[in-house]
Amino acid sequence: MTKLRRANNLLYGFNERPGFWTTIVLSLQFMLFPSVSLVFPILLVSHAHVDPITAASVISISMMVIAVVTVWQSLALRRGGSGLFFSPSNAPPYLAPSLAAVSIGGLPLVFAMTMFAGVVQIIFSQVLRWIQDYFPTEIAGLVLLLIAVELATVGLAQYHQAYVATHFTGHFSGERALLLLLPIVLVLGLSIYGPKLLRLYAVVIAVVVSYIVFLSAGAMDPNDWHIITTAQWFFVPHMSIGHWHFDPALMIPFALGGIICGFKLVGSVVAIQNIQFEDHDGHDPRQIRRANMIDGFGTLLAGFLGSMGLNVSSSLVASSVAERVSARVLAYPLATIFFLASLCPKFSMMFVYLPKPIIAGILVPLGCSLFLSSLKMLLKHAKTAYSRFTLAIAFILGLSQNVYPAIYKDMPHIVHLFAGSSIAIAAIFALLANALYLHVPRKQRSADV
């Protein structure tokens, strides 16, 4: 077997160790990405109308489980981990079903169904090896492509919300315009036009500088600032073990959430694997299975202790791929920060209530860099004209879910279950087209590219 050569442009590979300060700064930078999605459990508890202790507990438990799963993923394969620097975050595919569950049966229903979704993902991780032909690597590229679009969409929506807020309150001015644009200009400016050293830390520099400027200019939302300043310094979360309620009617949406998270994780693993070696074609299925299983256990654990479902953080993966950094040693300081933050609500609230322009300044550039790297993966692995054509159609159909959400919401309930996200639509079309191709006799297929 030919030994794979380390990629020339890889900064830090799986088993490499950056310097101490580099590790600390990179960990702080990578912490930003899963933190942004802590807004999902905040949305959940606001819908649940629970007491502040319970609400804070849900968020704290999310952070604790993130810490545990991050360390677990980083362990070597022979020690039960996947050997990857992967940090989970609260997963978008679980948000809609969780909100539906909380309105039907409160948090106990959310937690029970979240555990169910975790079990589904664990099972999916183990059966994937038998359906691998039906899920080729290029579909992972397609999934990541749409994740890139979703990241940018969320980021741009944040920008527009921030613009509207300042405009309607009558505070919009040239100064506010500069504040709105500062984070994204800093991130893009440093990462494209900055010196080599600053490109690596573009995001953390932009966030720190922007936060300071926002605080100095008094541009923080007063409600958000009040929450941060009145939050406690130390807090032990209250765990909801045993308080569960299961409803079969919600099995399909949560199961789909688990499967989508499984697909998303496969794409993320392949993306990280591909940056390691020169001319690397294909992927390590054992690492994928293990990472998927751990991710599923993370969701199971989150539901067990009392929080929302988790999945690998797309924005963290995007940053890893863009910066060519995948050293798993980064997991330990990152997990430590998250664990300490889970016991310090004041610190975690500073990330949860990041001003919208700063969130946009993080998400949009990430979407940009992930888009082209996903495209590379897709084109590298899609070898036939047919697979490329069907992937392009899948991309169009998936994108249309973002452009026309109203159309998909109006679909019959059974279709809506499968068409609730752009990734689901695209992945299902691509899988069906691929399955069709596999069952056509070779001599009837057109000449391949």
Binding site: A148, V149, A152, T153, G155, L156, A157, H160, Q161, V164, L188, S191, I192, Y193, V364, P365, G367, C368, S369, F371, L372, L375, K376, L378, L379, K380, A385, Y386, R388, F389, T390, L391, A392, I393, F395, I396, L397, L399, S400, N402, V403, Y404, A406, I407, D410, M411, P412, A433, L436, Y437, V440, Q444, R445, S446, A447, D448, V449
Partner: protein, 440 residues
Amino acid sequence: MQPVQYAIDTKPRPWTQCLLAMQFIYKFALLLVLPVVLAKTLQLNQSQTASLLSTVLLLSGIASMAFANTRLGGGYFLPVQASIPYFALVLYIGKNYGLAAIMPLVCLAAIFQFFFAWVLPRWHGQLLREMVAVMLMMLGIWAGMLGVDELYHPGSLGNIFVHGSMFAYQHLDIAASVPGIVTLLIVVALFFTRKHRLHAILYAMLAGSVIGWLLHTVPTSHGHYTNAVTWLAWPHLLLIMHWQWHWSMLVPAILVGFIASMQTLTLTYVMHHRCEQQPDQSRQRRALFLSALTTLVSSVAVMPVSIIPGSVGDSYISNAFSRYTGYWYGVMMLVLACMPKLALLLLLIPASVNGAAIIAMGAMMVLQAWHLLRVMTLPAMRSKVFGVVIILAIGTLTVESLATWINGHLPWLTNPAEALALVLAGVLLVLLYVRGGLYD
């Protein structure tokens, strides 16, 4: 890459040329709704509407044949129809400034197209290829979204342009979508085989149309126009010879002219690229000049005509780029100009069938744009720039509030995302050049 079945200068058998031309006629017949929508908005009477349609068909036929000729138009298959890039501009000018304001502004845009025809072909190299790729991608995505809307939400195509927004959604019609879904599946299935790929779009659309007619999902919103015209009639032109000038539309008109020129350059470039030829600048220049002339001549007829930007998507699917198809296409358009009822009957193709075909066309354009971009070998800095450009341009479609804001501020652009991508790419590349990292 798999070789093309018919390259630009290859002459297929006459029956093949005829079928290919019919495929394009059938596929792009839906664009006839644009002059109908324009007529409705400008409150033209039925006679004027019939003249408008007749003029569009006549000029399109002549221009398409001219493009196919190497001396006149460079020798490309560039089917011409009611102009997509000019549609939103003309509609906006007509609504806000009146009929008389259309001709001078479109004339001005055409004059600038002559200037661009002289300048643009001088540009060559990697950057041109990448800009063409970005343009093609945004065209493909826009077409794809249009197709999805028609697939699930069958209605008059022109409503998209009239509302000026991708979010002009009223209701979902599952039953009417069935013919379209079948059409898309047939296109995908026929793409398997080299033999049937050539006419995949035509076969799929015909099958979808039959199913649509059997399910009674034929659009009837333009029935009264169909009833008002005869089977046979000499082409009669709608000419507006009085004019008014409005300085406020100067820049928009020039920008639309630039976009139309870039679309012509893009189509000719990708044809050469797909046929594994170096772009022939003299041929491209002739095509650009003819495109400007076509716009200039058709400006007196209210609805300008120009090459159909999405036609290259269908050429990619069928893998045929022969310019000789242009002659057949032109003749068929002239026949339709003399048979107005037949032309309008083509509007009875079920909307979801059109939508499915547009999705396939848009997807193929996006795919070819991905190939053109050559992401594997793109320098790192330019890779970041194009990532930013593409994502921000797509974001103007996927973020509803942003799309509404942009459509509200740029109602005279048919595809604002495309224009934004071009402008943003230009600005960022210039900054990169100044910084000295253009080739890093």
